[in-house]
Amino acid sequence: MHELSIAAAVVESAQDTARRHGASSVEAVRLRVGELSGVVADALRFSFEVVTEGTELAGAELVIEDVPARARCAACALEFAPGVPLRLWCPECGEGATELVAGRELEIVDVTLPLAGASCDGGSAPQGERQGGIV
C-alpha cells in the first residue's frame, strides 16, 4: 500500500502550488495514472482523503485520468496494447525488442484553485516555463 506515500507526495506538490499562487484552499487535483504505474486508483482516492484531512486540501476533489498502456515494436514500429496480463512481444512480427511508450505515468496534470486568490489577475502568476514532451 504505497498509495499513502503517493498521496502524500501529491498533496505536498498541490500545497506548494496553492501557496505560490496565494490560494488558501484547493478545489481539485488532476492526476494521470498509467495502467502499469502500480497504483490502485481506489486506494489512492482513499489515501488522498486521509492525507488531506486538516490541510488546505481538505475536501479537494481528486480527478484521476487513466492512461492505457501502449508499446512500440523496435523492428516494425507497430504500436500495440500490451494488455492484461502484460505481454510485451510484438503481436505482428513476434519481436521481443519492444518499448513501452505509455502506461507508467503517475503525474500531476494540474491543480484547480479558487478564483478568490491573490494572484488571479492576468500577469501576476509566478515565473515558470513551459516544458515539452510530458510523460
Binding site: H2, S13, T17, E27, A28, L36, G38, E107, V109
Partner: protein, 271 residues
C-alpha cells in the same frame, strides 16, 4: 469560479531527482548499488550472506543495507560476513525511498567500497515504483511462489535488469515448472537474463556476483522494455510549473473541475 494551474510533474519527481543525485554521487565514490527486490521470504538475506562472503573471498569490498519494517535480524545475519552492514527500519513503510537511502549514505559505506547491496523491504508491489539510484535492479522469486508471479507482478519483474530464481534446491519437491516460469518472465521482460540460485547448495551465487561485478566494471545491464526510454529519461525534466491561470467562469460557469472538456488545450503533445 476557479483557475487551473498546470503542474505537469511526476508525482515521484522528488524521489526520482534524489535517486538521480544519489546515482551520480555513488558513481563518484566508485560504488555500484544493487537493489534486491522480492516478496517476503524469497531468500534475499540468505543469498546476500553468500554474496558478501564470496565478494570478500575475491577481494571485492562490499557492503549491505537491509530494509525491514521491524527487527534487526537481517542485519545481524549479514554482519557475520564481516562486511559493513546497516539496518534500515522503515517504520511501517512498505518500501525504501531515495531520501531514506541518502540519509544512510553520509560517510557510509567506508571509502573503497565497490558494491553496495540494498535489500529492499519484502514486497513486490510498492518498492518497484521507487528508484534508489541503483545501477542494477535484481528481482528474485523462489520456486515455491508460483511460476506466474512475474505476470501477476509485471511492474516488479518488468523493471528488473536481472531476474533470480531462488531456492532451486527444493524445486523438485515444489514441482516447479521451469518452462512456465521462463515464459512468464519473457512476457513482461523480453530478453532479461534469469539466474538460478540456491543458498543451500551455493548454485548460481558466483554467477550472480559476476553479473554485479560486470556492472561495476562499466558494462551496461539489460534495459527492460517496460522502462521505456521516454518514460525514464524525461521524468526528471518536468519540475517546473508553468503558469496557465485563467478565469474559467465565463467558459464553464459551473464546470466540474474534472468534467469533460474542462481543460481546453491541455492535451499532451503528440509523440
Amino acid at each position: 469560479m476557479c483557475r487551473v494551474v498546470d503542474v505537469r510533474q511526476a508525482v515521484l519527481a522528488r524521489n526520482d531527482g534524489l535517486a538521480a543525485g544519489l546515482r551520480r554521487e555513488l558513481d563518484g565514490r566508485g560504488i555500484t548499488a544493487v537493489n534486491l527486490l522480492s516478496s517476503p521470504g524469497s531468500g534475499k538475506t540468505a543469498l546476500l550472506e553468500l554474496l558478501l562472503a564470496r565478494a570478500a573471498g575475491r577481494g571485492v569490498p562490499a557492503a549491505a543495507l537491509t530494509a525491514d519494517l521491524a527487527t534487526e535480524n537481517d542485519a545481524r545475519r549479514l554482519a557475520r560476513s564481516g562486511a559493513p552492514v546497516k539496518q534500515v527500519l522503515t517504520g511501517g513503510l512498505c518500501h525504501l525511498e531515495a531520501a531514506q537511502m541518502r540519509g544512510h549514505l553520509e560517510g557510509w559505506p567506508p571509502e573503497g567500497t565497490r558494491v553496495l547491496f540494498v535489500e529492499n523491504v519484502g514486497n513486490l508491489v510498492c518498492p518497484a515504483a521507487y528508484d534508489l539510484g541503483e545501477a542494477l535492479r535484481v528481482v528474485l522469486m523462489s520456486v515455491t511462489e508460483g511460476e506466474d508471479k512475474p505476470v501477476k507482478y509485471p511492474t516488479a519483474f518488468g523493471l528488473a535488469n536481472l531476474v533470480v530464481l531462488s531456492k532451486t534446491d527444493i524445486g523438485g519437491a515444489a514441482g516447479f515448472d521451469g518452462d512456465a516460469f521462463a515464459e512468464s518472465v519473457e512476457r513482461v521482460n523480453p530478453g532479461v537474463e534469469v539466474l538460478h540460485t540456491s543458498a543451500r547448495t551455493g548454485q548460481g551465487v558466483d554467477a550472480l556476483l559476476d553479473r554485479v561485478l560486470a556492472v561495476c566494471e562499466g558494462s551496461r545491464p539489460h534495459r527492460p522494455p517496460l522502462a521505456g526510454r521516454h518514460l525514464r529519461e524525461h521524468r526528471h525534466e518536468h519540475g517546473h510549473e508553468h503558469p496557465r491561470d485563467h478565469p474559467r467562469d465565463h467558459e464553464h460557469p459551473h464546470a466540474h473541475p474534472g468534467g469533460p472538456g474542462a481543460l481546453p488545450g491541455a492535451g499532451l503533445p503528440a509523440r
